[in-house]
């Protein structure tokens, strides 16, 4: 049975490793301002891309 335990310890070790890296992740999320503008992204995603057709560039 003690051997099954070592499997769990492995899982925990992997988990704790990820945990450490993750702290950096949280910092990144807030500090890069991903959460600063929550008003325009839902609107911007609605716009279709400007197609790069010759016609389009004439207008431009």
């Amino acid at each position: 049975m003690g051997d099954a335990v070592s499997i769990y310890l492995l899982v925990v070790a992997v988990g704790l490793g990820l945990f450490a890296v993750a702290i950096g992740g949280l910092v990144w999320l807030v500090r890069t301002g991903q959460l600063e503008d929550l008003d325009t992204p839902p609107l911007r995603m609605l716009h279709d891309d400007c197609p790069a057709t010759p016609k389009e560039s004439q207008h431009g």
């Binding site: 049975m1 051997d3 499997i7 945990f19 890296v21 992740g25 999320l29 991903q34 959460l35």
Partner: protein
Amino acid sequence: MAEAASDAAVHHEEDHKAVLDTFSYDNRLPMWFAWATIIWGIVGMLVGVIIAVQMTGLGSTWGPKVLNQEWLGFGRLRPLHTNAVIFAFTGNAIFAGVYYALQRLLKARLWCDGLGWFHFWGWQLIIVAAAVTLPLGISTSKEYAELEWPIDIAIAAVWVAFGANMIGTIFKRRERHLYVAIWFFLATFLGIAMLHIVNSLAVPAGILKSYSVFAGQQDALVQWWYGHNAVAFFLTTPILGLMYYYLPKAAGRPVFSYRLSIVHFWSLVFIYIWAGPHHLLHTSLPVWAQAVGTVFSIILWAPSWGGMVNGLLTLRGAFDKVRTDPVLKFYVLSVTFYGMSTFEGPMMSLREVNALTHNTDWTIGHVHAGALGWVGFMCFGMLYWMIPKLYRTKLKSVPMADLHFWMASLGIVLYVISMYAAGAIQAAMWFKFDASGILAYPDWMAILRELVWPYIGRAVGGLLYLTGAVLCLWNLIATAKQGQPVEDETVQAPPLAREKPVHQVVGEAAAVKGNVFDRMTAFHSLVERWPFALIITASISLVIGGAFEIIPNLVQGSLTPRIETVKPYTPLELHGRDLYIREGCNSCHTQMVRTLRADTARFGDAHMGGVPAYTRAGEDIYDRPFLWGSKRTGPDLDREGLIKNNLPGWHYRHMLDPQLTSAGSIMPGYPHLYDYASDLSDLQARMSTLAGAPMYTPYSEAEITNAEALAAEQAAEVAGRLRKALSGNAEVTVPDDLEDKEIVAMIAYLERLGTDLTRED
């Protein structure tokens, strides 16, 4: 400098401040995934209809027995059905949806075309491998993780390709903000990667056979930690990602509340992972772990409904469009089903409710409300929207899509109501005691007979849903034919404002003077530049939740009370057990007598010499994998050895043709077990795998080297008893070489079940 200038000149002859990048989206990959979605969807649903028809008794109680064949047995086809609809239908839909939306949300072509095609063909090959191996009985028996280890490795490789392509695209994005749908997609990648790897941990015992490194109760916990979170990260988060992209797109209006969608995301990621034990209520899992599962399941209700409201209110003021646009119709019903299922789930996690619904067909109704309603409708809506776009045309037939919508809706309703009826009947009869405290319906067949009409209703509902999907295929093909595929869609977008190069940031940070803390914070800006970090953030929550669920069991594992009389299976029984796994008997039979009187009274109390019959954790320590099952179409078998051992020859007649012992049974016959000789050539290898690291099943050296002889010895004993019991029985014939046949190993295993606790030696 000169180069950059001439670049700009190419794109913009006239003077422009913003220089636009010209690039193209890869439409071919989502296109192919979309076609794979509908084709595999039809295959998976067809298999579902076939097994639903089997459950009505066709092939066993009525009609020709064509379905009673080795490769068409319910136990082998059910995993094929579940794997096909989850990983082939839903999986391909997710990939189509993600690859289409991701490029547009990030304003970038997919990172690597080659990787995309590796993903596409790899995934289709895995599906084909599943479609071949599962009917052949090559299965681990762990629900939704039945595929054997070589395929598991392939899945991991292809999954990593998917994640790498997604993350690579994020790195080269032209849009700084990662829209919330992308978070859902990333969580999907991470969650499934982790779940798949942990739950698939097994030691190969041959090219197509492996044993789970976890045993019994621990395996059950890992499996349902996986099973529940596969629902979370394969059937919920990616579909929510699709919802947050395709619903606003089709409605032409922004999501009702972007803030709510972010709250929705984080609360799901934090809460879902803890809810797994709600699949194991009233079992030998420690009660506190069960309580954790219940509590978190109930909490899940709140964010789920937040998401549902968010989806439905996105249509505020656009409901007139729902009347005319089939795409929106599908979405509205999908989100409604999401609300329904995420209410029902928490309710079913309440101990009292769960006691009644667990193992019944109610659960099957619940999962189909989610799969056909929430997932299926979202996928169909997306296909109806995406295919016309990819072929730059309009949907060929709106009335046909409407017809599909109504057929599918009617199909779901029929399906779900039938299953609720069946579940209610089962619960009412399983739990009914008469006035003197004795089971009112001790005869399983009496209960089974009440289920015929619900099962017919289910088959009709499924058939309607399948027919709708066929209409969808026709409509999509006609749409594609009238349009022109846009394989590479050339577009323009401004490049992402460049950040300071890394070396400059490092230099600046290194130049900072002050105490250690100041210097360390200076390096923060390095961390900030790390687009990877979001993924890792999601990992924390996944890992913390996952670890917390598993660590306590780690301790428990070593503390699982040892029961002196519990011994490993004999070589022959082990072989029988592997046959049980091959045939997928666990798709109709549980091996878990719960700590409920209705369970113990029905499944063994009378044979236990005064102690209650519920399954003890210590009884399962050699069970790799565990075989607790999740549905009782047939009775629980955990104490079968005690229940049927006084009826010599019963199993022999029953397994050959259940009608001989149990007229009207919908269990298929297993005549092939009577034809095939047991293949014991790899028995030694199997036993030494179990005896080796990290499992250390206490088989002695002598037992392993003599495995075949020991098996033959026990087989002769079992066969001798069978011969004696069946001599003069006109219904069945007993072959001369009975001791070599697989049926003998199977019966040896069935006779062993549940006997350890009370055995004398």
